[in-house]
C-alpha cells in the first residue's frame, strides 16, 4: 500500500469509487456542456444567449426567484417562530407538512396549482372575479416558487431558533428592552446567517425550477417564459448550440450561488463559536 496506511479499512476503495462515480455521472456531462459552449464564437454565443427573448427569460427567472425567495424569508421566519415558540393543536402535523414540497414531485405541484387557480378552480372561482389572475401569469410563477422554496428557509431557521439561549432574551428584558427591541437587537442578528442561507437555498432552487412552473406559467415568450423553459423550447427546435448557450448562463449563475452558500455557511459557523 501507499506511504500512509489508514487504520480503518476501505479508504482507497470508497474514495476511488466516489471520485469515479462523480466524475462519470456529474463532471463529464458538465464538461460536455462547457465544451459544447466553447465551440461557439463570442458572437454566436451572444446571439444565442443574449437575444431579447432570452434576456426577458433571464429577467423573469431571476426576478420571480428573487421575489419568491424574499416572500419565503418572511413566511419561513414566521412559521419557524410559531413552530419553535408556540404550542397549539396540530403543531406536529404542520411541522411534518413543511417538508412536503421537498418530497412532492414538482409536476404534481404544478398540476395542482394550475387547476386550483384557473377560472373554475377551487380558489380561482373567487380570485378571478376579484381581478386576481394567478394561472398563466407571473403571479402564478411566484406562487409555485414560494411553494417549492418554503421548506428551505423554515428548515434552516428552525434549528438556530431552537438553539438560541433563553437567557439572552431574559437578559435583554432585564436590561429594560421591550419585546420588539429584544427581537430586533438580540434575536434577529443571531438568526441572520440562517435567514440568508435559507434565502440563498430557496433562490438557487427557484432558478432551476422547471416542472412546476411549466404547468402554471402558460409559457408565453417575453411574458411568462422562464429560462429553463426556453432551453427546452430551443432543444425541441433541435437548436443545440443556442440551448447550450442559455444553459451555460444558468449553470454559471447557479455555481456562483453554490459558492456563495458554502461561504455563507462557513461564515455563519464561525459566528456560532
Amino acid at each position: 500500500m501507499g506511504a500512509r496506511r489508514r487504520v480503518l479499512p476501505g479508504f482507497g476503495l470508497s474514495l476511488g469509487y466516489t471520485v469515479f462515480y462523480l466524475g462519470m455521472l456529474v463532471l463529464l456531462p458538465i464538461l460536455a456542456c462547457f465544451a459544447k459552449a466553447s465551440t461557439l464564437s463570442f458572437h454566436e454565443m451572444a446571439d444565442a444567449a443574449w437575444t431579447d427573448r432570452a434576456r426577458a427569460a433571464y429577467l423573469l427567472t431571476f426576478g420571480t426567484s428573487l421575489i419568491a425567495a424574499l416572500v419565503n424569508v418572511v413566511l419561513g421566519l414566521m412559521i419557524a417562530w410559531v413552530l419553535v415558540r408556540y404550542r397549539f393543536p396540530g403543531k406536529r402535523f404542520v411541522d411534518a407538512m413543511i417538508d412536503l414540497p421537498l418530497a412532492l414531485p414538482t409536476s404534481v405541484g404544478g398540476l395542482v396549482y394550475a387547476s386550483l387557480y384557473v377560472k373554475n378552480g377551487w380558489l380561482g372561482r373567487y380570485l378571478v372575479p376579484a381581478g386576481i389572475n394567478v394561472a398563466y401569469t407571473r403571479l402564478g410563477i411566484v406562487l409555485v416558487l414560494v411553494f417549492v422554496g418554503l421548506p428551505f428557509v423554515v428548515r434552516t431557521v428552525q434549528p438556530v431558533l431552537e438553539d438560541v439561549d433563553p437567557e439572552v432574551e431574559e437578559a435583554a428584558a432585564s436590561l429594560g428592552a421591550t419585546r420588539l427591541q429584544a427581537f430586533r437587537t438580540v434575536l434577529l442578528p443571531a438568526l441572520l446567517p440562517a435567514l440568508i442561507t435559507g434565502f440563498a437555498l430557496a433562490f438557487a432552487r427557484s432558478i432551476g425550477e422547471y416542472g412546476s412552473v411549466v404547468f402554471i406559467s402558460g409559457n408565453m415568450p417575453y411574458k411568462t417564459e422562464i429560462a429553463p423553459i426556453l432551453v427546452v423550447a430551443r432543444l425541441e427546435e433541435f437548436a443545440y448550440a443556442e440551448a447550450t448557450a442559455i444553459a451555460v448562463v444558468l449553470l454559471v449563475a447557479s455555481f456562483a450561488l453554490l459558492v456563495a452558500i458554502n461561504l455563507l455557511e462557513r461564515w455563519s459557523r464561525r459566528h456560532e463559536r
Partner: protein, 353 residues
C-alpha cells in the same frame, strides 16, 4: 508479552504529538502513561494498539516488528475512553464479539462470556443493552470485551476518566487485583498522578510528546528527574535562588546540596515539597529558618494543610504537618511561625561539567 517502542514520531498537521519516543514495557507489567492533556500519551497508546499510524519509528511485540500490522492482527485488547460499546448489541454479544469474528463455535463463545461476566462480577446483565448500564458497569463490560480473545497486551485509555470519584476508587483497586490475577502486560493512560501511583508497577511521565521519566512510583516520586515531573506530581513550593559549593541558597535560607560541589554559582529554581517544610513556633538558628505568618489552616484530612506568607518576601507557601505536630503547635490564622526546608531539589537542565 513485552512491548518495545523505538523512535516513534507522530504529528497532526503542525502539532507534534510524539517527538521521538523510546519505551520498553516488560512482560506482565502494569504501566501507567502519565501526563497533562496534549502530552501525547493517548497517541502513544493508540500507536501501540495500531489505531494510529506513526510517522516514524517501530513497535515490537517480544521480538516481532508489528509496526505494519493492522490493529486486528495485533492480539491487543483496547479499552476506549468512552468505552465504544456496540450500542445495538447486548452486553453478552459485545463481550463475545472478538470470538464471533474469529469464527469460534457458539458454545465456546457463550462459555467465555459467562466466565468473563463472572470475572467482572456482572452476571445478571448479559441481555441488557449498553444504554441501560451505569458508567462503572459499561467500563467493566468494555474491559471484559477487550479480554475475551485472551489478548497478549491490554491497553486502557483513561479508564476511569468518565466516572465519579467513588466508583473510580473502587475500580482502581479492582483493576489492580484483576491484573494480579491474569497478569497480562497492561498499559493505561491517565492524567491523575494519584491513580498512576496507586495502580501501576511502572510510571511513565510524558510532556509535550516526550518522555520525562520512567520508573516505579517510588522512584518517580522520590527522585523526580526534571522540574516538569516535580511540578506535575503535585503542589510544590518554588523559590528563586542559586547553588554553589555544595549548598543551595534560596529566600535567605541555606540548605546543604552536595550534588553541586562546584565553586561557580548558578541561578536556579529551588523546589520544596509541602511535607518537607518544617514549621516551628521558635526560630532554630538565624540562618536556617524563615519567618512567616499563617494565612489559612485546613485541618480536614490525614495531614493538616497550612498556608503561610513569608514576612520578608511576601511569598505564599504550602506546608503539610501531621495532626500531632499540629496539636502541639496549636496553629491558627495570623500566628507567627518559622519554616525551614528539610530537603530541597534543584534541576539544572544543561548541567554538564
Amino acid at each position: 508479552m513485552s512491548i518495545e517502542v523505538k523512535g516513534v514520531r507522530k504529528r497532526f498537521g503542525s502539532f507534534v504529538a510524539l517527538d521521538g519516543i523510546d519505551l520498553a514495557v516488560p512482560a506482565g507489567a502494569l504501566l501507567a502513561l502519565l501526563g497533562p492533556s496534549g502530552s501525547g500519551k493517548t497517541t502513544l497508546l493508540r500507536i501501540i494498539a495500531g489505531l494510529e499510524v506513526p510517522d516514524a519509528g517501530t513497535v515490537r511485540h517480544d521480538d516481532a516488528d508489528i509496526t505494519d500490522h493492522a490493529a486486528r492482527d495485533r492480539q491487543v485488547g483496547f479499552v476506549f475512553q468512552h468505552y465504544a460499546l456496540f450500542r445495538h448489541m447486548t452486553v453478552g454479544d459485545n463481550i463475545g464479539y472478538a470470538l464471533r469474528v474469529r469464527g469460534a463455535p457458539r458454545a465456546e463463545r457463550e462459555a467465555r462470556v459467562t466466565e468473563l461476566l463472572r470475572l467482572i462480577r456482572l452476571e445478571g446483565i448479559r441481555d441488557r443493552y449498553p444504554a441501560q448500564l451505569s458508567g462503572g458497569q459499561r467500563q467493566r463490560v468494555a474491559l471484559a470485551r477487550a479480554l475475551a480473545a485472551r489478548p497478549s497486551v491490554l491497553l486502557l485509555d483513561e479508564p476511569f476518566g468518565a466516572l465519579d470519584a467513588k466508583v473510580r476508587q473502587e475500580l482502581r483497586q479492582w483493576l489492580r487485583n484483576l491484573h494480579d490475577e491474569i497478569h497480562v502486560t497492561s498499559v493505561f493512560v491517565t492524567h491523575d498522578q494519584e491513580e498512576a501511583f496507586e495502580v501501576a508497577d511502572y510510571v511513565v511521565v510524558m510532556n509535550q510528546g516526550k518522555i520525562e521519566q520512567v520508573g516505579t512510583p517510588a522512584e518517580v516520586f522520590e527522585h523526580p528527574a526534571s522540574a516538569f515531573v516535580m511540578d506535575f506530581l503535585g503542589n510544590v513550593n518554588v523559590f528563586q535562588g542559586r547553588v554553589e559549593r555544595g549548598r543551595a541558597l534560596a529566600a535567605g535560607l541555606e540548605v546543604p546540596y552536595p550534588q553541586y560541589p562546584h565553586a561557580e554559582a548558578r541561578d536556579t529554581a529551588v523546589y520544596v515539597r509541602p511535607h518537607e517544610l518544617a514549621v516551628e513556633s521558635e526560630p532554630r538558628a538565624e540562618s536556617e529558618s524563615l519567618e512567616a505568618r499563617v494565612v489559612h489552616v485546613n485541618p480536614a484530612g490525614a495531614v493538616v494543610k497550612v498556608e503561610l506568607r513569608t514576612e520578608l518576601a511576601g511569598q505564599l507557601l504550602n506546608a503539610e504537618i501531621d495532626r500531632e505536630r499540629f496539636a502541639a503547635l496549636d496553629l491558627k490564622a495570623g500566628d507567627r511561625v518559622f519554616v525551614s526546608p528539610r530537603r530541597v531539589r534543584v534541576f539544572l537542565p544543561d548541567y554538564a561539567i
